[in-house]
Symmetry: C2
Subunit: 218 residues, 2 copies
DNA sequence: TAGATTGTTAATCGATTAACAATC
DNA sequence: TAGATTGTTAATCGATTAACAATC
């Protein structure tokens, strides 16, 4: 087991492993080699062994990896066992969608509350999640330590709200607005979901394959 | 200008450049050097010059890059000028959120229709986008060539729907379901939005910084 | 035991950064 | 012209892949 800082690429692959392992469990597979896992995920066996070896020795020579055990290890490494507390800030369509469909529990997160400024929403409860007045955010967080805030407010108020959330002491912001949050708070980690980046990438690769089809020299 | 295949990393950065350039335009900046752009985006000037040089010579020695011109070039490279046609399949909370807030137009995409199987939704029009019966998808696509399908159906029917869409001749699927689509159709490009991957990554880096804080040897 | 497969070290490959001549 | 900054070649760095001894 190496003790150096883990590279971003490795960390970004961990959730992929998790999904694959859950899938294998669902199919009743209880043992897998790096070779087979690699084949199924499109990675080399080497990469898989390298990735896991950053965190410990989870396999067994001559046998491979026990799927449930490996799954538990990956979940632990990702911090899923800690039960991070989460709030949703902004209960529009996006906030709604996340409350109803994301499944925070299944990912090891505890969605404790949502916040909005609309009188139509304040006081309601959606799928067991109470919606409070955004004005009470700061006071509420004092009473209920919160690890992660999901930012699903309209873009125009995103920057202000992010600042408020930082003041509330959240450790991370999961940003769904299409603006680049520039917090002068390095201790607050920001993870962006930039939908447009993803769609534009798709557009590019579609173009690319069209062009290849039409060019004589592939 | 190099003519080799462009690496994924470069392509993934193009939409970031686009957002930054739009931002600069909004702030009335009309000229920028790779040095300054790099500082603002957290890249090295070298990387910026390398990235753009994959596609042509957009700058001017001794001067830098004209912001609007560079923005146009990036938009062109990404295929935004082509007006890809898009349909949304599944008008739940997620589909709604995208129709109402994503702004396909602003990204250069034409959202032409949405599809759902709920009688409550079929026939309605949301923000100018008509909702049709999913059953009519195939017939509709024959009449209306469609480049990209946004997959926002419930996970349980995602795989089937993806197959249907491939049969409809779409060139790309923008997948919002949390399952791994395994299409045996290499000509259909799939781009996944795996929300959970993103949140789990955030959880990891929060943990990481906590641990660093608590360890004597940083 | 023999075969399989790991964890890890070494080799390769690709991406990022630095340097600099070209030139606006 | 002198100064600034590009585009591109060369150097460095890091990530992926290959190889193999250890061992289940």
């Amino acid at each position: 087991m190496k003790k150096e800082r883990i590279s971003n690429n490795v960390i970004r692959r961990l959730p992929m492993y998790l999904r694959k392992l859950d899938d294998l469990i669902a199919h009743g597979v209880d043992r897998i080699s790096s070779n087979e896992l690699g084949k199924q995920m499109g990675f080399t066996p080497s990469q898989i062994r390298q990735d896991f070896s950053c965190f410990g020795e989870f396999g067994q020579q001559g046998y491979g990896y026990r799927v449930t055990e490996l799954r538990e290890q990956v979940a632990r490494i990702l911090g899923m066992k800690q039960g991070f507390t989460v709030i949703i800030v902004g209960v529009g369509n996006m906030g709604h969608a996340l409350i109803k469909n994301f499944g925070f529990d299944a990912q090891g997160f505890k969605l404790t509350a949502a916040f909005d400024s609309s009188p139509d929403l304040i006081g309601k409860v959606i799928d067991g999640v109470p919606i409070y007045d955004s004005e009470t955010l700061n006071a509420w967080c004092k009473e209920n330590p919160t690890d992660i805030a999901v930012l699903t407010v309209p873009s125009v108020i995103a920057r202000d709200m992010a600042k408020t959330l930082a003041d509330c002491g959240v450790k991370g912001i999961w940003n769904f607005t299409n603006i680049e949050l520039e917090l002068d708070r390095p201790e607050v980690r920001v993870e962006n979901i930039h939908f447009s980046d993803s769609l534009l990438y798709l557009g590019y690769i579609i173009n690319e394959s069209e062009n290849e089809k039409n060019s004589p020299t592939h």
